[in-house]
């Protein structure tokens, strides 16, 4: 054995790593769960071809005119039945022939109904002989990077980094305290900082596997774009993971039982699951909440990851979220060192 493998820091790190790998549940949550989630969301929010809109018409003549537009599926119906179909959502719009012309009956707060109104009017006007004043044509694109899956992958990555860091550190430390193993370590000449450092080192080791695995999957299966520097993306993942690790350390620094630790972890993570924009943009929360939302480490992490992956920004352009992450790291680490209880 070399002196490296004999060193206590090496042994502690290897031990931590082994203990993680021997925990099948942990493997599931870290590796399998985020992928299941990505697959589920990818399927649910996949981009479908533009929807065909159902409309109704009171005369065959009108129906024929409407039928000229491929975006509309028309049924002929009378006014009473048509009103009923509108109310039950079977059709979005009812075109009623009147002596004076055509009346469109639809709900103008429903975007699909408004589209139907535009398409229907155009088709009917065309059938009536209206000409385009200007020639126009379409150039259709379906851009990667603007899809929901592209938006949600950095969010899931941030959430996963948070979860694995907080659970990984928090549970292991509290378990060791509960089983009096921390006390046993303190009675040995092991330098205490090495114990905590071993968690961070093994976290980094795992992080590499975890991130490569998840992003590789997202790239291969969904073709998620990587527009920023990969090196910087790696650096952001490391920073995110370290920030959350110190948060996990802080949570674990006093808790004596697994139940207490579990409660504290959920307390810390729940607001972030909701507020930090994993599944939808955090800007949707009211302005009053924004300072709080922006200060959360997960918001900062996800903003930075999205900035890198989707917008191709470099770290210099994202100082705000990066500083937020660094601030969390320093504060949590400082406080944990002060209040950490070894027994």
């Amino acid at each position: 054995m070399s002196s490296l493998t004999d060193s206590s820091l090496f042994q502690l790190t290897v031990t931590r790593f082994k203990l993680f790998l021997r925990e099948p549940e942990a493997l599931f949550w870290v590796f399998v769960f985020p992928i299941l989630l990505a697959v589920g969301l990818g399927i649910a929010f996949r981009n479908r071809p533009a929807d065909v809109l159902d409309v109704g018409a009171t005369t065959t003549q009108l129906a024929q005119a409407l039928g000229a537009d491929k975006g509309l599926r028309t049924t002929v119906t009378d006014e009473v039945q048509g009103a009923h179909d509108l109310a039950t959502g079977r059709i979005l719009l009812l075109a009623i022939a009147r002596d004076s012309g055509v009346v469109y009956k639809y709900d103008d707060t429903n975007p699909d109904a408004r589209s139907a109104r535009l398409l229907a009017d155009r088709a009917i006007q065309k059938a009536a002989g209206q000409k385009d004043a200007l020639t126009s044509s379409n150039d259709l694109i379906h851009e990667t990077g603007a899809r929901y899956i592209d938006f949600v992958v950095p969010g899931l990555l941030g959430m996963n980094l948070m979860g694995s860091a907080i659970w990984g550190l928090g549970f292991s430390i509290v378990e060791a305290r509960q089983k009096k193993l921390l006390k046993r370590y303190v009675a040995s000449p092991m330098p205490r900082w090495q114990y905590l450092m071993s968690f961070l080192l093994s976290r980094l080791l795992l992080l590499t596997i975890e991130v490569l695995f998840f992003l590789g999957f997202a790239k291969l299966v969904f073709g998620v774009p990587f527009r920023g520097s990969l090196l910087e993306l790696g650096a952001l993942c490391v920073l995110t993971s370290l920030s959350f690790s110190t948060l996990g350390l802080l949570i674990a620094s006093r808790a004596k039982t697994m139940e207490a630790a579990s409660g504290l972890m959920n307390l810390a993570m729940l607001p972030m699951w909701i507020l930090s924009g994993v599944f939808f943009s955090a800007t949707r929360f009211p302005a009053l909440l924004q300072p709080l939302v922006r200060a959360l480490p997960l918001t900062a992490a996800i903003d930075a990851l999205r900035g890198n992956m989707l917008q191709g920004m470099n770290i210099a352009q994202m100082t705000a979220p990066v500083m937020v992450l660094i601030a969390w790291l320093l504060v949590c680490f400082g406080v944990s060192l002060k209040i950490f209880r070894w027994r």
């Binding site: 206590s8 502690l12 082994k18 089983k179 009096k180 193993l181 006390k183 303190v186 009675a187 000449p189």
Partner: protein
């Protein structure tokens, strides 16, 4: 092992493996350690014996540097925790009462981990052999029996080749066979000349393993000496126990009569059971029978045993060790 256990020496702090002076520790209103003075010599196997809550664990944890005393001086190997904590941790081995080692590590792995904490120490192979866990070296800790786990905990304490070994209740909760096995292990270490300090609430354990024993009760040391000396202090090598048939009650006068029997050193009653300390069984027992007959008392459940540390504790405190 060149110091004879019976030799009463008042060595200097430097000569002692452990030296405690005026040790005190309170947790809130509860005084756990109430003025303990103690010297343990190098090469000695020293036992702290007492019921649960006597302050043994607090005392030993102060010695291990895990708890800070409210008052008093602690010196180990001539060093104090204040000045040389890091050095001391390198030189002592510790087994705590309730440590649960990580179940998913193997015997070998945990020993290698603990070995890495020490500058110098024993090879992992050697400690595995010492703890007689050769067959289990690749086994996960979760699959070990209670006795094997305890031997492993001891191996973790030994892997740094300590000058001073602390064992806190090493056999509590083990079945008799596993206890015997652990005793053999401690015996070997003791014969190899290691200084061992152990706590126990089993008097047979202290009697079997320890060169000297301190009996603790309510945070104080109430007796100190070799097991032989302590037992001799009861006043006889043997104890005669009997009850009397319900009809006859033993009055104070009768108790005096019993104590007056030649060869009887002491008398006490505990829940209707009389206990007499006796020097020579074969001459004294017939006299006890004769005396009881004279008083018109019918002895039942008459039995004798060699005096033990239990009898010492009972004699000193009026309580049984196991009552607690």
């Amino acid at each position: 092992m060149n110091v004879h256990p019976n030799e009463v020496s008042s060595g200097t702090v430097q000569d002692c493996a452990l030296s405690l002076q005026g040790l005190r520790k309170a947790f809130g209103d509860v005084v756990a350690v109430d003025g303990v003075d103690l010297d343990v010599r190098r090469g000695e196997c020293f036992g702290l014996l007492g019921p649960n809550g006597a302050g043994k664990t607090t005392t030993i944890e102060i010695c291990e540097g895990l708890t800070v005393a409210d008052a008093g001086d602690v010196h180990l190997l001539g060093l104090s925790w204040k000045d040389a904590a890091t050095e001391l941790r390198q030189r002592i081995g510790v087994q705590l009462q309730e440590t649960q080692l990580p179940e998913k590590l193997t015997v070998e792995e945990i020993l290698r981990l603990f070995r890495s904490f020490y500058r110098k120490g024993l090879a992992v192979d050697e400690t595995v052999k010492m703890a007689q866990l050769e067959e289990k070296r690749k086994a996960r800790i979760g699959t070990l029996s209670g006795g094997q786990k305890q031997r492993l905990a001891m191996a973790c304490a030994l892997v740094g080749d300590p000058d001073l070994l602390f064992l806190d209740e090493p056999t509590t909760g083990l079945d008799p066979q596993a206890r015997r096995h652990l005793w053999d292990l401690v015996d070997q270490l003791r014969r190899a000349g290691r200084t061992i300090i152990l706590t126990t609430h089993y008097m047979d354990e202290a009697e079997h393993l320890c060169d000297r024993v301190a009996i603790m009760d309510h945070g104080r040391i109430i007796a100190l000496g070799t097991p032989k000396q302590l037992i001799a202090s009861v006043g006889g090598d043997h104890v005669v126990e009997f009850a009397v048939a319900t009809k006859g009650e033993v009055g104070p006068q009768d108790a005096k009569t019993l104590t007056a029997i030649p060869g009887v050193q002491g008398h006490r009653v505990d829940a209707g059971l009389h206990q007499l300390s006796v020097v020579e069984l074969h001459t004294t027992v017939p006299r006890i029978f004769a005396s009881l007959a004279e008083m018109g008392l019918q002895p039942v459940e008459f039995r004798t045993h060699s005096a033990t540390l239990e009898d010492v504790f009972v004699g000193l405190t009026g309580r049984n060790l196991r009552d607690e």
